[in-house]
Amino acid sequence: MQNLRYEAPETLADATALLAAEDGMARVLAGGTDVIVQMHSDLIEPDLIVDVKNIPELTEIAKEGGAYRFGAAVSGKTLMLHEDFNKTWPGVMDGVRLIGSLQIRGRASVGGNLCNASPAADSVPPMIAAGAVASVIGPNGARDIPVEDIVTGPGQTCLDKSEIVVSFLLPERPPRSGDAYLRFTPRTEMDIAVVGAGVNLTLDDDGACTAARVALAAVAPTPLLVAEAADALIGTKVDETALEALAAAASAACNPIDDKRGTVEYRIKVAGVLARRAAAIALERAGKNQ
């Protein structure tokens, strides 16, 4: 890092121009809880760091009609202090609250958690379940990408080197909607998911599920959106039979690895159990959210 340059542009145009003009390795800096660790452990040796926290679009939380838009560099702590967002998207916040420690959440952002592209990122499955769409900008213009399409492999995203995730749009919540995220770790704090499961669902007036999305973490090279698991809930009253079908579909979607955190068999089994428990919490939250 002998020639490392640090830039903190104040506009999106300046940020993308800096990234586009860099021939060497460039990294976007939001909270830095992954990038700075990688720099200091010599995993990466960037030539340019573009700090995006002075760009308003990346640090705002705002309502757009009934939908929420929040900047990709908003810290977990800032989201935790936003009362209405916590009430509207408790499942997204389940994931955010599980990222690192208080110290880490004081810096770490959902945008960084996504772009670091770990299969075990805790905020990503509930964002996928929420139907969040990332607003991405580059030198050739803006594009909207569903969160589930961003990560293409461990540490890999579909973004071009001069593109930045600016913000996330979370759709307006219909009444009787609820979401939840659960992860399994041996410790209660400061650990990385063995398995994570996020569920988001909406009920009609009779308590039947009209819409659902289910996403899993740490059971495949990327976070997974599992349509079959959602289908097991839609049209049901999220009863015992539906929850069993959900668990089976979640387990069937897994393509995990053996590592020090868990075996293939264990992860497949736990994915079903967690998906089912997360669905039960989402159901309870939907019932309270008239």
Partner: protein
């Protein structure tokens, strides 16, 4: 490497410092400003020994770049006591013997102070979760938790 001129507030004093882009705030504090109260444990954000606050926000200084902190208000362990007058948390850490080797202590004190500012009357569970980002290999945490709970009572009087 081009150095950046940073003007910022450290424990209430306005300071100027030249920093390299790759230097962490922790290295700037210790190596440039010779404020060695803030400790390096893991340098990867896992242990909390380097905890400081920036504009009241608790962070690991190993995961902040020095170039990021211009115009901010940084608080470190050196700013905790008022001259010879220890902060109640410092008093209670001594009284409860909530330290042995002392490496984690500055970070724990900063995190505990931040915790009590946000939640002046925490439960034991809230203290344990609030300090979950600070590792201690000596005390087993029990004495730390007792000291923080005791300090909370004193500070509310």
């Amino acid at each position: 490497m081009t150095k950046h001129h940073i003007q910022t507030t450290l424990n209430g004093d306005e300071i100027d410092v030249l920093v390299e882009p790759a230097q962490s705030l922790l290295d700037v504090l210790r190596d440039e400003l010779h404020m060695t109260g803030t400790k390096e444990g893991c340098a990867t954000g896992d242990c909390g020994a380097c905890s400081v606050t920036i504009d009241g926000n608790l962070v690991c200084s190993c995961l902040v770049l020095g170039v990021e902190v211009g115009g901010r208000n940084i608080e470190t362990i050196e700013g905790m006591a008022n001259g010879d007058q220890l902060h109640p948390l410092q008093d209670k850490f001594i009284e409860h013997v909530a330290l042995q080797c002392g490496i984690c202590t500055p970070g724990l004190l900063i995190a505990a102070k931040h915790l009590l500012e946000e939640n002046p009357d925490p439960t034991e569970e809230e203290v344990r979760y609030g300090l979950a980002g600070n590792l201690c290999r000596c005390t087993g945490y029990q004495k730390v938790v007792e000291a923080v709970l005791d300090a909370a009572q004193v500070m509310q009087k």
